[in-house]
Symmetry: C2
Subunit: 243 residues, 2 copies
C-alpha cells in the first residue's frame, strides 16, 4: 500500500485521512476496537497505516466529529459506538447557531409542540398498561416536587420524556434529549416559582386524564394549551413582541 495519494486516475480524490478513517471506522463497527476502549497511540497508528502524524490526527479529528470516538484535550480518544444520542449531540453544535434569534427558537419550539401533540394522541390511543404506570409515576413525582423548582424542572422534563418513550422507538427519546438540551439555555433564564410549578403540574394532570380516558382530541388540546401557556410565559419574560 502506498501512503501517498494513489496514482490511479479518477478514483481517490486526494484525502489520505479518509482511508484511515474508513479503516478505523470498520474496526469500530466490527467490534475489533471495543466500545469505550482507548484508541491506539497516534505514533502507533502512523506505523500501522504508513501515514504521517498529520494524517492520523486529521483522521482522529474526523472520527470525533462523526461521533465514533470521544476526544478530551490531552487524553487518548475513546471508542464510542454511535447511538441516537450521538446523532443528536452532533446536531447540537450546529443547531446552536440557529437559535440566536427568536425566530429560530420559535421554530424549534413549534416543532416540539407539533411532535408532542402527535405523541399524546398516540398515547391516548395506544398507551399500554406499563406506559400508564410510568405516566402516573411521573405525574406523582411532579406533584411532590412542586415546592422545589429545581426538582420540579427535572420531573417536568421526565414527564414529557415518558411520552417520547411510548412509541418504543429510540429515535423519540433522542429527540426529546435534543429539545431539552438545546432549549435549556432559554429555560434556565426563566423565573420559577411554586405557583408556576403547580400550574404546570395541573396541565400535566389534565393531559394524563385525557390519556386515561382514551380521548386523543382532548389530550392533544390539553398538551397544546400547556405548551402554548409555557411559550407565552417565555415570550412575556423576554419581552418579545409577538409570535
Amino acid at each position: 500500500m502506498d501512503s501517498r495519494r494513489s496514482s490511479e486516475p479518477g478514483v481517490e480524490g486526494g484525502r489520505a485521512a479518509d482511508h484511515v478513517v474508513a479503516a478505523i471506522e470498520a474496526q469500530i463497527v466490527s467490534g475489533e476496537l471495543e466500545n469505550r476502549s482507548p484508541l491506539p497511540a497516534e505514533r502507533d497508528l502512523m506505523t500501522r497505516f504508513g501515514a504521517s502524524r498529520t494524517v492520523i490526527r486529521e483522521a482522529i479529528s474526523k472520527l470525533s466529529s462523526l461521533g465514533l470516538v470521544e476526544t478530551r484535550p490531552r487524553f487518548r480518544p475513546v471508542v464510542r459506538k454511535p447511538d441516537y444520542a450521538t446523532v443528536l449531540h452532533a446536531c447540537g453544535n450546529v443547531v446552536q447557531h440557529l437559535l440566536t434569534d427568536r425566530t429560530g427558537i420559535k421554530n424549534l419550539y413549534d416543532s416540539r409542540v407539533f411532535i408532542e401533540r402527535a405523541l399524546v394522541r398516540e398515547a391516548a390511543i395506544s398507551a399500554r398498561k406499563e406506559d400508564i404506570v410510568d405516566l402516573k409515576k411521573a405525574l406523582e413525582d411532579n406533584r411532590n416536587a412542586i415546592p422545589d423548582s429545581v426538582a420540579f424542572y427535572r420531573t417536568d422534563v421526565a414527564f414529557h420524556g415518558v411520552l417520547y418513550r411510548i412509541p418504543k422507538n429510540p429515535i423519540f427519546p433522542a429527540i426529546h434529549e435534543g429539545y431539552t438540551s438545546w432549549l435549556a439555555p432559554q429555560w434556565d433564564r426563566m423565573l420559577r416559582s411554586p405557583e408556576r410549578n403547580e400550574m404546570n403540574y395541573l396541565a400535566h394532570k389534565s393531559i394524563l386524564e385525557a390519556i386515561l380516558e382514551r380521548d386523543p382530541a382532548a389530550a392533544e388540546e390539553a398538551l397544546t394549551n400547556h405548551l402554548k401557556a409555557a411559550w407565552e410565559f417565555v415570550r412575556v419574560t423576554f419581552d418579545w413582541s409577538e409570535g
Copy 2:
C-alpha cells in the same frame, strides 16, 4: 496574544484551535466573512492568528464539521452560514451508522410515518388555498410521471415534500430532506414499475382527497396505508422476516 496555551490556570483547557474556531465563527455570524465567499488562505490565517499551520488546519477541520464552511479536497474552504439543511447534513454522517441493520432502518421509517401522519392531519385541518394548489400541482406531476419511474420517484418525493412545507416551519422541510437522503440508499435498490407508480399515485390521490374534505382521520389513515404498503414492499423485496 500568546499563541501557546495560556498560562492562566483553570481557564483554557489546552486547545489553540478553538480560539481560531471561535474567532472565525464570530466573523461568519457577524457577516464579516460573507456567505459563499472563500476563507482566507491558510498561510494568511497563520499570520493573522499567530498560530502554526497545524492549528489553522485543525480549526478549519472543526469549522467544517460544524457546518460553517464547506471544504472540497483541493479547494479553498467556502463560508457557509448554517441553516436547517446544514444541521441535517451534519446528522447524516452519523445517522448512516445506525442504518446498518433493519432495526435502525425500521426505526427511522417509523418515525417518518409518525411525523407524516401528524402532517396530513395538520394539512386536513389547516391547509391554506396555496397549500391546496401546491398539493394538486404535485399530484398532477405525479400522475404525468407514472410511465417514467425515475421521474416518478422525483415527483413522489416532491408530493410528500409539500406536506412538510405546510406548517411553514423550515425545520420540517429539512427533516424531509433528511429522510429522503438517508433512506435513499435503500430505496434505490427497489424495483420500480409503472404499476407500482400508479399504485402510489392513487395513494397520494386518496390522501389529497381526504385533505380536501377536511377529514384529518381519513387523511391520516390514507397516509398510514400508503406508507405501510410501501414498507411492506421494501420488506418483501429484501426478504426480511418481520417488522
